[in-house]
Amino acid sequence: MTDHLKSVIEALIFISVEPLTLDRLQEVLPEDAAADIELALQQLIDEYEAGRQAIRVTRSAGGHIFSTKPEFDPFVRRLLQIERRKRLSGQALETLSAIAYHQPVTQAEIAAIRGVDSSHSLHTLLDNKLIKIAGRKEAPGRPLLYRTADKFLAYFGLNALEDLPSADELKKLLEEGNS
């Protein structure tokens, strides 16, 4: 019974281009208990991870999706003819980090953290849909507020914002690094 459920989930994830969430799975499989679905999903993940398959079930942005394992990257690149590895600039990454930890946040606050103007980085990040505008702050000048977008999680392979280390954990990390 579980094997069948596992196969069904496998098929559904296979056909999904965007991460398939548990909620969505539950909608598609109303007869199955949430616990069964979760169990079958976990078994599926483990099987792919342990097996010789070149693909795995990855948790991403709150859902599950098939992805290739890292060792096949060179071959996929050859197939897709994508040679250049695209990376965000250091500036953009810094701005993004500031937003991730302080959202919703204004440009002035980002500038206060980084000590430099961040308008160019903000544009890059908005263009790449890694951040979004989340209204205006009720403060003098009613400045725009920025938040990370869903694509932020997917881009960095995070499942939720909580996957990022907390401010205190960061402090500990830094102290360990120094000692």
Binding site: V17, E18, T58, S60, I65, F66, S67, T68, K69, P70, F72, D73, V76, L80, I82, R85, K86, R87, L88, G90, L93, E94, L96, S97, A98, A100, Y101, H102, E109, A112, I113, R114, G115, D127, N128, K129, L130, A139, P140, K151, Y155, F156, G157, L158, L164, P165, A167, L170, K171, L173, L174, G177
Partner: protein, 269 residues
């Protein structure tokens, strides 16, 4: 309180004048300042101000400097060292007073004051740097993992990075195709006549069925050069009438044609 030089006696003032008289015991050979509430050498005044025994607001610097310049003007010879010292102290005095006169940030705007505390919650820069390093690792990790979405949507910044093409792009594509087709068709059959109206309808119907057309492929599919030419003009007309939109995906450099969703031009009529 017995001090007669002090016009407005108070506990502080009393302390002032006692200090003043103490210091005043040294032979005052330099220039002496005479003000309503202070009399003595400049270094003493500076000392008292620094010790907060004298309020700098009560000291009229303009008077001090004016009288000093008059004094200098009357002198036949000056002791450079001593006057330089005076200048230094006077400059210091002016600096101190200017600092107290300039508006402080806190008093400028109470709203700015309100925003201040929120800045204290911000992560220190070194922690942001740690996050950057972490995200960079994750980014590198992710760049080696491929999902099927990589096929449907091009790379991050090319996502939806579509460019509406100009007439020149269309024409260029068309002429490239025409050259190929010309070389291809050895025989030209003259036969059925195609009207623009028919062709336009055909394009719209095809678009409705297929959703999207590859501009070049579509022209290529046409039976003859003539038909391709008519199709091209029809497409131009449709673009002009804003019924369809021609868009180029930068990555692959082919022009695609969509029905415009935002123009109900046809439906409304």
């Amino acid at each position: 309180m017995s001090d007669e030089r002090d016009p407005n006696p108070g506990p502080d003032r009393a302390a002032d004048s006692s200090a003043a008289s103490e210091a005043g015991e040294q032979p005052a050979d330099g220039y002496q300042i005479k003000l309503q509430n202070f009399e003595g050498p400049l270094d003493l005044l500076l000392y008292l101000i620094k010790k907060k025994k004298v309020q700098i607001h009560d000291i009229p610097i303009a008077v001090i400097t004016r009288e000093y310049l008059e004094y200098l003007g009357d002198r036949k010879a000056i002791n450079i060292d001593r006057e330089a010292e005076f200048l230094l102290m006077a400059a210091l005095l002016i600096y101190i007073k200017s600092q107290t006169l300039l508006p402080r940030e806190q008093v400028v705007d109470p709203e700015v004051e309100l925003q201040r505390p929120s800045m204290d919650h911000l992560l220190p820069y070194d922690r942001i740097k740690a996050v950057v390093a972490l995200l960079r690792d994750k980014e590198d990790e992710q760049s080696q993992i491929w999902k099927r979405s990589a096929l449907t949507a091009p790379l991050p910044d090319q996502d939806l990075d579509l460019v509406e093409v100009s007439l020149f792009d269309l024409a260029e594509s068309f002429f490239t195709m025409m050259k190929r087709k010309q070389a291809d068709t050895a025989q030209v059959f003259k036969g059925k006549e195609i009207s623009m109206a028919d062709k336009t309808n055909e394009i719209v119907t095809t678009l409705q069925a297929r959703g999207v057309l590859d501009f070049l492929d579509y022209l290529w599919e046409q039976e003859s050069l003539e038909e391709a030419l008519i199709s091209f003009f029809c497409l131009l007309e449709l673009i002009k009438a804003r019924v369809v939109i021609a868009v180029q995906e930068q990555l692959f450099n082919t022009i695609k044609v969509w029905l415009r969703k935002d123009t109900p031009a046809k439906d409304e009529e």
